[in-house]
Symmetry: C2
Subunit: 343 residues, 2 copies
DNA sequence: TTGAAAGCGCTAACAT
DNA sequence: ATGTTAGCGCTTTCAA
């Protein structure tokens, strides 16, 4: 008979093991869960498990206990930032026997909502995701069902969830302060989406730094307003066509910086010398390029660790219901694209 | 009373719905699974579901049916290549109601083995992973249990699994042929790990192209042998210190190419003009750089689509047990680092 | 088409 | 420390 690939051979169950080892299922279960069992039985069980190639059915366990050992991470995509968070989060959770499942939704709120429901139905122990206002309802439902939710990177206000963020405002403020310190006065900002806290906070930091230095913000120097490369291409053109173009630019993320870099290459503008550039988000490209791009590096590993700490706290039942917020410092990595302006 | 975050409110079950709608649980279940139910009952059930905010417990369903709607992807990390495959795979599976769970194991065979066991125990519908010889046993166990496994990117011989690969050998052969066609004779290869089929096949393609052109392979021109940046740094140094250094280099992946690029920058060697470079794997960096790096682009999207087709075939019970192998063509993207050698 | 009930594999409460 | 057994929420067979 031809065994079709979707007809699975019946797997051994805990009952088979119990019979083979001549003990009760309860004993096997307890042994499997680390509760003390006397030596001879232990051996018999071990032998039975090996002989029958027994694998505990995790689904049945989850069904019984209403808990799994899965934590879900929902991301729009895997850029360097997310990938690094993911790495440290995976490690942190694995140390406590939790497995991180990642799901990518490409920024589509519908896909995100579906994913949240899916993971809720599968009883994951926690969900980690950037805050997205479109899924307030689903997130609230999760929390109501007692499944902890952790926001990172982007926030949505007034939700009873835990939060781990880097200090977008402070880091942006310091970044722009650096530009001011080395002599720039005409500093532009290519902004991200201000409806998201990341975009909003980074622009706020920019404005604050100007204000701190007593420099009046010039609305013509604030351009962009989306995370799209296309729009940044337009934004940089607008800036450079100004009667008095800026001598320095602070971009809200690395994609926007790429637009500036390309523009400069096409127009023979020497970055650093003719025009300073400082970008939020530090990526491999910025290290490889010549001149290297000065950038705000988010502490991705630390973010991942903080998230796993918060999540594990919930799973182990340490934290009370009151949501925790962790704010982490960024570093500004000085490279060659930030130089004093020409005299 | 303070509700601790890990005390979940009891969620509505199918029984609650049945009572609320005044029908039997069987009827609710059938309705939920798309089996015809008469109009008035349908309405009552819908109303009950809405009123009780019922969500089907996916764990219980999986327990009963011994099937989930999850497919697991195991990757060492998220580089551009994997990220793109992932994107198209996620889409392809979502179209058929399957959710892709990604797990990253950082190339650690132990972590990989654990992950495979984990997903097996959780009854995923399929596992997608690069072939890794260290986990033959676990993979065999999966297949024995009737869970289809799909290898991609890297192969392990003699395993009863499905396979989706790009044509490493053919693409490498063509790439090196291009270098020969534009006039190069002293062509070096910085090899990857030859114990992996990717590394092996790429070197084989290199040798074949030389042979095709009647050029004797010079063992001094074949260096490296790991995927590590460190080793590539040494490899490129070895090559350039040769009495007759190569005029062109074919690297087995993009990390190895970075070593060449850095070396050239440090030694003021003009890529393209002084030394041609052609790399396997096309990455964003190669597009952004000046000069742009000529590269072999793997058809990542097509790979993802092929994988989802194979997986869905299994899930829908179309394929027979005989494993399928899909081989996909690569493209060579010409940029500025491959020029005729100096006269 | 519908209801009643068995049972998927496991854990945990209870009894010993 | 160990055996016995109820029951987690669902699907599916069997009857009606």
């Amino acid at each position: 008979m031809i065994l079709r690939s979707n007809e699975r051979r019946r797997a051994a169950t805990i009952i088979d093991v119990a019979q083979h080892a001549n003990v009760s299922v309860g004993t096997v279960s307890r042994y499997l869960n680390g509760i003390t069992v006397r030596q001879p039985k232990r051996e018999a069980i071990d032998k039975a498990i090996a002989a029958l190639r027994y694998n505990r059915n995790a689904v049945a366990k989850a069904m019984r206990t209403d808990r799994t050992n899965m934590v879900a991470l929902l991301v729009p995509g895997y850029d360097e930032f997310f990938a690094e968070i993911l790495a440290s989060l995976t490690r942190g959770l694995a140390a406590e026997g939790q497995v991180l499942l990642t799901h990518k939704h490409e920024g589509d709120p519908k896909a995100l909502a579906l994913a949240i429901e899916f993971f809720q139905n599968h009883r994951v122990n926690a969900i980690v995701t950037p805050g997205v206002s479109e899924v307030r309802q689903q997130v609230q439902a999760m929390v109501d069902h007692g499944i902890p939710v952790v926001f990172f990177n982007n926030d949505v206000a007034d939700m009873p969830v835990d939060r781990v963020f880097s200090k977008n405002f402070e880091a942006s403020r310091q970044a722009v302060k650096h530009l001011i310190d080395i002599g720039h006065r005409r500093i532009a900002h290519i902004a991200g989406d201000r409806r998201e806290t990341t975009g909003h906070e980074r622009q706020r930091g920019y404005l604050q730094a100007l204000d701190d230095a007593g420099i009046a913000a010039d609305p013509r120097y604030i351009v962009g307003g989306t995370w799209k490369r296309q729009d940044a291409n337009i934004a940089i053109m607008q800036l450079m066509q100004l009667p008095e173009p800026p001598t320095a630019i602070f971009t809200a993320n690395y994609v926007l910086a790429l637009a500036v870099i390309d523009y400069c290459r096409q127009h023979n503008i020497a970055l650093g010398e003719d025009l300073s550039l400082l970008s939020f988000d530090d990526v491999e490209l910025f290290r490889q390029m010549h001149p290297g791009v000065t950038a705000v590096a988010q502490p991705a590993s630390a973010i991942g660790e903080a998230i796993s700490e918060v999540v594990l706290g919930h799973i182990n039942g340490i934290h009370p219901a009151a949501p925790r917020t962790v704010m982490l410092d960024c570093n500004i990595i000085l490279r060659q694209t930030t130089q004093p302006p020409r005299a």
